[in-house]
Assembly symmetry: C2
Homo-oligomer: 345 residues x 2
DNA sequence: ATCCAAAGCGTTATCGCACACGCACTCTGC
DNA sequence: GCAGAGTGCGTGTGCGATAACGCTTTGGAT
């Protein structure tokens, strides 16, 4: 590992000069600069991060814009846990994080949180955004200063200038769910698909993935139901209705973390034969339902790791100034009673 | 974050004295020592790792004892990848790694590698061992010096003084496979279980897990076959035989990374109806079979992450001198065509 | 001829920690 | 009473990088 001093010695200049070349702080003759740059390349110099952050007085600030943690059945606690873990680890590198939460059912709330985030003083050096209210977010996104990098978590806005998207491939996760459902119900019968309102691109992609699997394969009949994530009662009613309307109901697919509402409704108003349920995300209530056999499969998108990874990517881009992949797709974990415990915490 | 200097100031001593207290290097009056220790606790002092490893000239050496990477269908390349990734990240902390590979079918080879590892000069500060040849390893393990911590990877030796085991819950993974198999074959027919030789506790646990599931549930008939991991031909013969002997063969369970041998044999000498195959681990050939639909499920034990985690745990114990959990069980990932790509690399 | 700004470069304090060294003082044994 | 060992403590240097600061040397304006 070459050090600044070695480079300086070899180029017969002082450390200060080498440092100025590296940081493009000017005040170095073009010729000298070129000579030093060559040596840097030749020796494959990599700055020592330890020494750098020990020495540097610079600290970094990231803004995190998330829905209220308790929304979506406390789903947002999961990425938040990952974010906080990364924050702890990066504390010694002088990375700080400000949190801004919004009500995902209120455009006003989003707007307010968004503005607080970008107008915060001191200015943040990077943003992490979960653009759940995608349409509302779309209108705001251009207000982000040119030089302020931002990363999308969980879902994203097409055609934005984000530095990266960390999340799942929603369509594919729907497809995966469909395959599992097909296995569970042994290839025939009616399967209900819960279209969870309010509208969300993310959810729609999952549903489309699910549908597209059955478009090719088979004898399964799909029926769509609408439920409202804000009204637990709507899940109960939907469950009741779909059982009444379809005697040969064999499965239900719920493409959000609200799966447990349906599972619980099925317990109390359930049909007399087994109806398989596939849901999403390892929120507490879903986990409980899975353990009791009320849910058969949960698809998990490594929510914690999404948060953790996002912060690390920001760190990599902003602090280390390295380039990052424009997209990181998390594995789609298939969770059952048998492997659940290894995914918790 | 308190620093040495702050503690020194508050205790009205010099940094050197505080340092001697922290490192128990003596030459400090009991009274002074107590006073300083109290302040350390009060201020919740945590040494700055950056400064520490920048300053310290001490370097650390870990020994890694693994089967030859190409064995078990190149399985051992997977944890090795994770180990090397951790190695890169820890290089700045002056962590070095020596590798010792052994032929998992030769006790002599293991012995030789083992001795090279523990007698290496300079002495290693920690060992990472994959004790695949468990019985042979059991005889050697007591030769590890009292003060040399070691961690088991992949499998372990019961009643040893290892600092930790990083791997999977083998029994549970068998159970999980059985559940999936049961789903695939729709609850009836004959399922073949490949007992892969030579003997290995790990594999036996998976088989027992698999069997125990069907002991309670159902109409599935299990039949055992023996194959020899060293002889690909034995897989072909076993496949042929099991098809002949069982007209209603519906599934095959192979509890090792050699799954692809069976899958390939089934392609060429296969039955005329679908036989579902569940195998283990994301080695190249298995991945290829999964993609082609020749294998239906692969169970993956996060092999890369096992390697990565192991080295980090050693680092945590040896370098940071923190305590570590005695057991880290990796998630049992269920891999299908639909989610495969998110698990690769 | 004088002055001054800017260019080009070197020097140095600092970050927090580790550790060798050295000074002053106490205790022990002969 | 004095050498030598041991105790209790402070000082100083180095790890590698950062960045403020200051010192020369130019060249152009006055």
């Amino acid at each position: 590992m070459a050090t600044l001093k070695e480079i300086a010695d070899q180029a017969k200049v002082s450390i200060g000069t080498v440092d100025r070349v590296i940081h493009r702080r000017g005040r170095v003759a073009t010729e000298t600069s070129r000579r030093i740059q060559k040596i840097i390349r030749d020796l494959d110099y990599k700055p020592n991060i330890l020494a750098r952050s020990l020495s540097s007085s610079k600290s970094y600030l990231f803004g995190v814009l998330l829905p209220l943690p308790e929304q979506d059945g406390f789903y947002w606690e999961l990425p938040l846990t990952g974010i906080k873990k990364a924050q702890e680890e990066l504390e010694i590198y002088k990375v700080k994080i400000n949190y801004f939460y919004y009500d995902k059912y209120s455009e006003t709330s989003l707007k307010k949180a968004f503005l607080s985030a970008i107008q915060h003083s001191p200015q943040p050096d990077g943003l992490l955004i979960a653009p759940v209210l995608s349409q509302a977010m779309e209108k705001l996104i251009h207000q982000i200063p040119e030089k302020l990098p931002y990363i999308f978590l969980d879902s994203y806005i097409p055609n934005s200038k984000c530095s990266a998207y960390i999340g799942e491939d929603s369509f594919q996760s729907g497809l995966l769910s469909a395959k599992l459902m097909n296995m569970l119900v042994k290839g025939s019968g009616t399967v209900a698909v819960m279209d969870v309102l309010p509208f969300d691109y993310h959810i729609q992609d999952r549903i489309q993935g699910f549908q597209s699997y059955f478009a090719q394969n088979g004898k399964i009949i799909l029926t769509m139901c609408q439920v409202d994530a804000r009204k637990p009662q709507s899940f109960v009613e939907a469950a009741k209705k779909v059982i009444q309307d379809h005697q040969n109901l064999v499965g239900i697919f719920i493409p959000t973390a609200c799966s447990f509402y349906i599972a619980e409704a099925m317990m109390s108003h359930g049909s007399n034969h087994k109806v398989f349920i596939i849901g999403y995300d390892l929120v507490k209530q879903n986990v409980a339902c899975l353990q009791k056999g009320m849910i058969d499969f949960l698809i998990s998108q490594r929510s914690e790791m999404q948060g953790y990874t996002s912060i690390y990517k920001l760190y990599k881009k902003v602090v280390l100034k390295e380039s990052i992949e424009s997209q990181v797709l998390m594995p789609l974990d298939i969770i059952t009673q048998e492997n659940l415990k290894y995914y918790q915490n």
